[in-house]
């Protein structure tokens, strides 16, 4: 049993924190939101140069083949900084999925530029089955003489307009499995419709109308087991749990600092028992959410049965992050509620993380089946 980071892991953690506190300030996140803008490419480029985009990938493709805790530490720090980068989507979800299911040629083609920061990907797997009360027809892929044709709609695609390719899931007639294809958002027949979400500034509905997809952009060169996509999303949830725990801890620390400094009734508001107890509860939640996230990640890495651990990490960390933010709002008052203040950026992020890749309700249902 060992709950400490190694000194190498700790060094990376410190380096990531330093970098993000310089390059990804709340002011910048706020500006991105105001302008519905994507992350500036130069920041992404710097992250590539620091080697962070290479962490989960094998040596053979230019990756660092790092241990998972190191990657988790980076994701946690991104969560702490209210991460405006597409790191999780692009690297943890899409890149890793290519490594999981891509052919050797595909891996050689897509992973090196991804690792070098020259390629940005967005995940496009979310279909709303009860949007407006009516089911959306599933996204489908069919073979045609020129390659493949894609039809359908995906929702809540983050960063779609700034990405080079979208990783799209689709059903193939006559296959129970899933097809995963890479599609340029600029390809003919792709239409982006901006959505205005309280949680993420840059999110789209993407419509595919008879979009031609070259055969070599079909990952694995044919339908792959749906379970591979599910695994990738589970893995993403585990890392997102670390991000949520990191975000929650940052919000807690900001709030504690404010509560020590802000005076009302002639004393720091942090000396009131009601405030202390709210913060004590958040601290307890953060401690256990953090442990749950890392337990899930280490179980996944060890190849142990981890479905239960992931579900617990997901539910615990998401609820904790939100509760940390709600508590913080209560203590910051107006100082966290104005547009120009920072706190609400984390609050929005907390809700985004909760709903991404399947909300807690789905994971509790899954736990019910496992108990």
């Amino acid at each position: 049993m060992e709950l400490d980071l190694t000194s190498e892991q700790q060094q990376i953690k410190d380096a990531v924190r330093r970098f993000l506190s310089r390059e990804c300030t709340p002011a910048m996140v706020r500006k991105m939101r105001e302008e519905h803008a994507a992350l500036p490419r130069e920041i992404w480029q710097s992250m590539a140069e620091l080697g962070w985009l290479s962490l989960p990938f094998a040596d053979a493709y230019g990756g660092a083949g790092s241990d998972w805790v190191t990657l988790a530490v980076v994701v946690e720090e991104l969560g702490r900084a209210c991460d405006p980068t597409p790191f999780v989507d692009c690297i943890v979800t899409c890149g890793w999925l290519i490594q999981d299911v891509g052919s050797e040629a595909q891996k050689q083609q897509w992973l090196p530029p991804l690792i070098e920061g020259k390629l940005m990907l967005s995940l496009a797997t979310h279909e709303e089955t009860a949007l407006h009360g009516a089911g959306t027809p599933p996204t489908t892929l069919r073979q045609c003489p020129a390659g493949l044709r894609l039809d359908g709609r995906k929702y809540f695609v983050v960063n779609a307009d700034a990405s080079d390719f979208l990783l799209v899931s689709a059903a193939m007639p006559d296959s129970a499995e899933t097809s995963l294809v890479l599609v340029s958002p600029k390809a003919e027949g792709v239409e982006l419709i901006a959505l205005h979400s309280l949680a993420h500034a840059n999110v789209h509905e993407v419509r595919f109308n008879n979009v031609l997809v070259p055969q070599e952009q079909w990952l694995g060169d044919g339908p792959v087991a749906q379970s591979r996509l599910d695994e990738a999303l589970d893995r993403t949830q585990a890392f997102q749990s670390a991000a949520a725990a990191g975000g929650a801890r940052q919000v807690l620390e900001m709030t504690v600092a404010y509560a020590k400094e802000r005076e009302q009734f002639g004393k720091p508001i942090g000396s009131f028992q009601a405030v202390q107890h709210m913060l004590a509860n958040v601290w307890t939640d953060v401690e256990t959410a953090w442990l749950a996230a890392y337990e899930a990640i280490t179980y996944l890495e060890a190849g142990l049965p981890a479905a239960e651990k992931v579900a617990i990490a997901k539910c615990a960390s998401n609820a904790t992050f939100l509760q940390a933010c709600f508590t913080a709002h209560q203590i910051f008052g107006g100082m966290g509620y104005m547009w120009e203040t920072d706190l609400h950026l984390w609050t929005r992020k907390a809700k985004e993380i909760e709903l991404a890749y399947g909300g807690p309700h789905r994971y509790r249902r899954r736990l019910a089946a496992l108990l």
Partner: protein, 389 residues
């Protein structure tokens, strides 16, 4: 004992509902939804129409131009407005006018009440300062007597409505030598008075509020409400009314009903979210708590009607309503999934974005108007007689 509206009250409610059905246009709703609580031309016009109908003073005594009806009828009116998605948050009528009726001089009543009744006069609240939030008694804005005038200097923040209101209701220190909360007074005066500067700031919802700077603002001594240095009492009265208003259940009920309807919508396969017993259970738990809030609202309205001032009740109502608003919005978004994060005007937005809007507004409801912690202190100390810490 009877919890129901009387036949007359039910009839009155029908009358209002009919009027609102006839006069609330989609354009007005749209304007309110996008204007971020700054009334646009339609809302301004509508307010005057309400004034002309006499419906801004339903519960006011007849001698002040009101309809002389009960506070229960007045609350019916505001509930019906909420059910039409007209959330004015108009404290001028629901809190300040009632405070004026209770505490102002005859002359002041005649000066202000008719204009409030007609919808011409709107007042914003100048309480909070950068260093005086929960602890209003620590405010530093000063009003110094100079002959027949007071000269006011200081700064207020989060002054909602200061950019469209005609007047400000300002709490300032008039006796710097008295104990902190004994040297304060309330003034009402036009925002157009020289020396007042209003600057915009925006909330996380994107709604405009303001900073108000007061630089040697001269107001007549007659602008003071109540006796000199009785300001803390005056705002306590106003806050009790305000909490009753902040604790209204109708908007929450409205959002719940819309959420429930959304959950009952069936998809092409004939399936609805409400088929899931777990979602049913969560909605039922919310429903029970909204009904409990409704009952407390019923009680406060009945108390005001009987001439009692709800105090612990008003605080409890504000606590319940604000926490329930957050819970409903937060769980509602969880139940509906990512599309419930969409805001008004977005493609695919459910419930016209009310859930998302409510989620963003909820934190403010919990700390605004006196934090819920202070409200619980009030319940414990005033309601249960527990000793101060």
């Amino acid at each position: 004992m009877d919890f129901r509206y009387s036949a007359e009250q039910e009839q009155f409610r029908q009358q209002i509902r009919q009027f609102l059905d006839d006069n609330v246009s989609d354009a007005l709703r749209e304007e309110i939804a996008v204007s971020g609580h700054s009334p646009g031309p339609l809302a301004t016009e509508f307010l005057k129409l309400l004034g002309k109908q006499g419906w801004l003073g339903i519960g006011w005594p007849k001698e002040h131009g009101g309809q002389g009806r009960s506070m229960i009828e007045q609350s019916i009116f505001y509930h019906e407005l909420d059910l039409q998605d007209i959330h004015y948050g108009n404290l001028t009528i629901t809190s300040l006018a009632l405070t004026l009726i209770k505490l102002a001089s005859e002359e002041q009543k005649q000066q202000y009440l008719p204009h409030i009744l007609s919808g011409d006069l709107e007042i914003c609240l100048g309480y909070t300062e950068p260093n005086a939030g929960s602890d209003l008694a620590s405010l530093s804005t000063r009003a110094v007597r100079d002959g027949d005038e007071y000269v006011i200097t200081g700064q207020k923040v989060y002054t909602t409505g200061a950019h469209y209101a005609s007047h400000i209701w300002l709490l300032a220190r008039t006796d710097p030598t008295a104990p902190r909360h004994k040297g304060l007074s309330v003034f009402i005066f036009p925002l157009a008075t020289p020396g007042v500067t209003v600057r915009p700031i925006y909330t996380m919802e994107g709604i405009r509020t303001n900073e108000v700077f007061l630089d040697e603002v001269r107001v007549p001594a007659s602008a003071m409400i109540g006796a000199p240095n009785s300001g803390f009492y005056t705002i306590a009265v106003a806050l009790d009314f305000e909490r009753v208003f902040m604790g209204k259940y109708t908007k929450i009920r409205r959002n719940f009903d819309a959420l429930l309807a959304c959950c009952k919508e069936t998809d092409d396969a004939g399936q609805a979210r409400y088929d899931d017993p777990v979602i049913q259970d969560r909605l039922v738990r919310l429903h029970i708590d909204i009904e409990r809030l409704r009952l407390l609202c019923t009680k406060t309205a009945w108390m005001i009607d009987r001439g009692k001032v709800p105090n612990a009740e008003a605080s409890a109502q504000k606590i319940l309503a604000s926490e329930l608003e957050q819970r409903l919005a937060d769980e509602g978004i969880q139940i509906l999934g990512p599309r419930a994060l969409l805001e008004y005007g977005s493609p695919h937005v459910p419930m016209q974005g009310y859930l998302a809007q409510s989620w963003l507004l909820a934190p403010m409801m919990k700390f605004g108007g006196g934090t819920n912690e202070i409200q619980r202190d009030i319940v414990a100390q005033r309601g249960l007689g527990l000793p101060r810490g």
